[in-house]
Symmetry: C2
Subunit: 348 residues, 2 copies
C-alpha cells in the first residue's frame, strides 16, 4: 500500500549495485550507456533496475555535474494559439537533445514572469526561451542574459543584446497593407496591439510605410490600440465602427485580434470582406478555420519555435556567449476576409 516515492527510502544505484553484484561505478557507467561495460553486465544491471523499480535521480546528478538538463520556456499567453504552436515547436526541436522543456505561462504579468524565471533558475535550467510579458524591463533581461543562455522569442526588446527569434513584422505588415491597397482600398485602419510593444511599433511602421508609398493618409485616430486578444480586437473594432466615417479595410495586429474584429463587424450587421476587409498576422490554425477564412501574414509559429530551441542549444553547448538573430520570413496568405474574392466577382 505504501508508495515507494521520495518519502520512504528511495532505491539508489548502491542498491542496484548490490543486487547486480557490481560496483556503484559500474551502475553509473551503465546509466550513461558507456561502451566500457560489457553487454552481459549491462543487462544484469538493467534487470536489477527493473526489479527494484529504480528511478534515476536527476537532481543528484545535476548537483554533482553542476548542470541540469532542463530548459525553461516562458510564455506570455498560452491561451493564444500562436504561442501554443510556438511552444509545441520548441518541444519538438528539443525532443532528442537531451534537454527537457519546462513551460510556464506568465499571462502578461511581469511579476509572475519574475517568479517563474527565478524558479527555473533555482531548478538549474541550462537556458531559457523567453517571450517577454508586456512591459518587461530591459534591465531585467540584461541582468538575466549575463547569467545564463537566453533566447528572446517573438517580442524584441530594445536595448538588450540577447539572441533573438522574431518574424519580419515590418515587411509582413507592409505586404498586407499593399495587398489591401491593390484591392482598391484607400481608407485603411490599423487595429489592436499595445503601443508600447516593439512588435506593435514594427507592424504599424510597415503599415504606415506602405500607406505613405501609395500617398495615402495615416490618421492617428485610425490606429486603435487594444490588448492583443480576441476580446481586445472585438472592442477595438467596435470603437472603430462607431466613428462617423468607417474605414473599408483594417490591418489587424494579429490573428486573435482579427478574429475578434470580424465578430464585431458581423455583430454590426456588416459583412467581412465585402463591407470591411480584414487581414490578420500570424497564420494560426484558427485563421484557416474561421469563416470567412482569414487572410493573414504567415510566420510559421512552429518553425520559429524550432529555431529558438536550436539557437538556445547552440548557446548552451558552446559555453560562451554567441549571439544570433533570426528574422523569420513573413508571407501573405490570401484567403477570404480581405474580400479579394468579392472584387474579382465584381470585376468579372
Amino acid at each position: 500500500m505504501a508508495r515507494e516515492g521520495r518519502k520512504s527510502r528511495a532505491v539508489t544505484i548502491l542498491d542496484i549495485a548490490k543486487s547486480a553484484g557490481v560496483s556503484k561505478s559500474t551502475v553509473s557507467l551503465v546509466l550513461k550507456r558507456s561502451p566500457l561495460v560489457k553487454e552481459e553486465t549491462r543487462q544484469r544491471v538493467a534487470g536489477a533496475m527493473d526489479a527494484l523499480g529504480y528511478v534515476y535521480n536527476r537532481g543528484a546528478a545535476s548537483l554533482r555535474r553542476a548542470r541540469a538538463d532542463i530548459v525553461g520556456m516562458v510564455i506570455n499567453d498560452l491561451s493564444n494559439p500562436f504561442f501554443a504552436e510556438l511552444a509545441i515547436g520548441i518541444e519538438r526541436a528539443l525532443q532528442n537533445s537531451g534537454f527537457v522543456p519546462f513551460i510556464a505561462n506568465t499571462a502578461e504579468s511581469v511579476v509572475r514572469q519574475a517568479e517563474v524565471v527565478r524558479s527555473m533558475r533555482e531548478h538549474g535550467a541550462a537556458g531559457l526561451i523567453l517571450c517577454p510579458a508586456l512591459d518587461t524591463d530591459v534591465a531585467e533581461i540584461s541582468r538575466l542574459e549575463a547569467r545564463l543562455p537566453i533566447v528572446l522569442a517573438i517580442r524584441r526588446i530594445i536595448g538588450t543584446r540577447a539572441s533573438l527569434v522574431v518574424s519580419d513584422n515590418l515587411a509582413g505588415a507592409a505586404r498586407a497593407t499593399e495587398h489591401l491597397i491593390e484591392l482598391g482600398h484607400r481608407d485603411i485602419a490599423f487595429v489592436g496591439g499595445v503601443g508600447r510593444m516593439v512588435v506593435f511599433q514594427d507592424r504599424v511602421a510597415g503599415f504606415a510605410g506602405a500607406m505613405e508609398k501609395a500617398r495615402l493618409a495615416v490618421e492617428p485616430a485610425r490606429t486603435i490600440e487594444s490588448m492583443p486578444t480576441k476580446d481586445g480586437g472585438f472592442d477595438a473594432m467596435k470603437r472603430l465602427l462607431s466613428l462617423d466615417r468607417r474605414p473599408t479595410a483594417v490591418v489587424c495586429f494579429n490573428d486573435v485580434v482579427a478574429i475578434g474584429a470580424m465578430l464585431a463587424i458581423a455583430r454590426q450587421g456588416l459583412t467581412v470582406g465585402r463591407d470591411v476587409a480584414v487581414v490578420g498576422f500570424d497564420d494560426t490554425a484558427e485563421a484557416r478555420h474561421v469563416s470567412p477564412a482569414l487572410t493573414t501574414v504567415s510566420v510559421d509559429a512552429g518553425s520559429l519555435g524550432e529555431r529558438a530551441a536550436q539557437m538556445l542549444l547552440r548557446q548552451i553547448n558552446e559555453g560562451e556567449r554567441r549571439l544570433e538573430s533570426y528574422v523569420g520570413e513573413a508571407r501573405l496568405v490570401v484567403r477570404e476576409s480581405c474580400g479579394a474574392d468579392f472584387k474579382r466577382r465584381i470585376a468579372s
Copy 2:
C-alpha cells in the same frame, strides 16, 4: 563577460555565510524564513545574497529533503484550447502552494507520454496531473499510481482507482440532445471523438439515452467517429453530409469538433442553425467567438484544472493515499448554432 551560471563555481550558502559573517546554518534558516533569526541578521544575509547574485539551488535542497517542489502536468493536446484553459487553471491553483507546475504536451502519443512521465519522476515530481493520451494502458496508470500521487483529469480510464476530475459527460450530452429534441429535431447524429475513449462512450451514452427517452432511433451509421480536433470534425461532418439522408441536427464530441463541423456545413453551402443545428461540448472561449456562436455544454475547464490541482495537493500533503473523485457539472449554454433563434423567429 563570463556567465556566473552553473559552469563556473556557483555562489553557495557558504559564500553568503562568510560574506555576512554568520554560519551556514543561519543562512539556511534565513532561506526558510525561520523566526529564529533576528531581523537585523536576516537583512545582512539578504544583502549578501543580493550582492553576490546568489541563486538558491533547489536540486540540492530536494536531494537532502528527499522531496522536490515540482508537480507535473501532462497534457494530451495543448493546441486544443480546452486543455490550454485547463492548464491555466491548474497553474492558477498552484500559484501559492509552494509547488511549481511543469507542463508537458504528449500530442496524444503514448510513447511520448511514457518519456515525459519518466522524466518528471526523475526530476522528483511530488505528483502528477495526467490527461492520458489516447490508448493509454490501464496497467501503466496503475503502476504509476502505486508510486506517486496522481490525479487523472478529463479522461477517465476504466480499471484504475486513481483520483479523478472529470465533467458529467453523460448528463451533459443528454441535456444537449434533449434541447435539440425540444427544438423539434428528430433526426440527430453524433459527430466526432474516438470510440475507444471512455469520454466518447459516456457522451454517446448520454446522447442515446435522451434519444431513446424520446422514442427516437439511434442509428449506428449516424455516429461518426473522428480525431477530437477541428480537422477531425470537418472530415466527419463532410462524410455525414454526403449520406443520402442528412440529419437536421448534430451533437458534437467537443467544441473543436463542432467548429470543424460548422465549417464543413458552411462549405457545403448550408447554414448552421437553420439547415443543420450544431451543439458542442466544453464551452471554450472559442465557442463564444465563432459565428454563429456555438451552443455548447459548459464544463469550465479552468475550474476543473483548479480542482485537479487542489486534489493533488491534498494527496501530496496527507502523505497516504486518499482517493477522490470530482464530477463537474455540465450546463447547457444556448447560443446560436442550435438554431433556437430561427425556431423562435418562425414561431412568431
